[in-house]
Amino acid sequence: MSENATAHQDDGHASLIIDNKKLLMWLFLGSDCMFFGTLISTHLIYRKLYPESFDPTTLFSLELTSFSTFILLMSSFLMALAVSAMHKGELKSFRRNVLGVIFFGLIFLGCQVYEFAHFVHAGLTLSTNTFGSTFYMMTGTHGVHVAIGVFWLICMYFYSHTGKMDAHESAVDVEIAGLYWHFVDIVWIVIFTAVYLIEFI
């Protein structure tokens, strides 16, 4: 077999390979979809059963939530750029973008803490009613996901300074962290519409 034919065969084989870590992350995200699916379903069903129990429009600030949504969408954009930079081997660009993602993630968490503090101050706690229970459970779980994502990216940022980053392995690792971050973003897209916006119609 000629060298070209062997190379071609290798390319064909490579195109069929899926990185195990990447496949596992997609499977995890699929299972996390079910997890958030049940949390969001529970919230909406209790809203349907007890529509009179609480009027969230008196508490919700759509401007703040829209700002949080915008921040998270822009962090997703920066994460996509960070993954792209890593594929190109541009470590400095990767670091810059990851710092941006971390910064936006912290702003989102800050907005959520402010929102929760405001709600608790207004009398809505985890045990006030079914709305409080399902709302805090769902948005809190999402917040924990964001916090884990921020922690993961901070670790990755510092790791990039150790000089141990291998081009192939690290590109896949960054891509996986990116998948997780984007997933957190799409969950918020659903929560923003299904939990916040719908209440104002």
Binding site: L29, D32, F36, K48, L62, S66, F77, M79, G163
Partner: protein
């Protein structure tokens, strides 16, 4: 290994850089589009239109944002079909659970007194 020793993959050479540059423009356009849609959603809920119309538009816009992030930012559009299936299965079960619970549980077929007596 110092930063100066850091080298991308051999295959991540010129062609890879070009494709990443193309993706950059797609990402910028998508980010602008997603930001604009979020703005439209915010304004829409305050407009005095029919509730069903607003609900349908919000649902469509949200679905578009959801799919766009998965397809482009998460690279599923460029990746293997198996990954779409892995994620799609979870999504299908989550959506099925949501639809089933939503249609099974309503005020008419739930004993509200039994629930509230706790």
């Amino acid at each position: 290994m110092s930063e100066a020793d850091y080298h991308p993959l051999p295959i991540a050479a010129e062609s890879n850089k070009n494709s990443e540059t193309e993706k950059y423009h797609t990402f910028v356009n998508l980010a602008l589009g997603l930001a604009a849609i979020t703005g439209v959603e915010l304004v829409l809920v305050y407009l005095p239109f029919n509730e069903i119309f607003i609900f349908s538009v919000l649902l469509s816009l949200s679905l578009f944002k959801f799919v766009a992030v998965i397809a482009w930012f998460m690279h599923l559009l460029y990746d293997k079909l198996l990954l779409t299936l892995a994620f799609g299965t979870g999504m299908a079960i989550a959506t099925g659970t949501f639809i089933a619970l939503g249609s099974l549980i309503s005020r008419s077929n739930v004993d509200m007194d039994a629930i509230t007596s706790f």
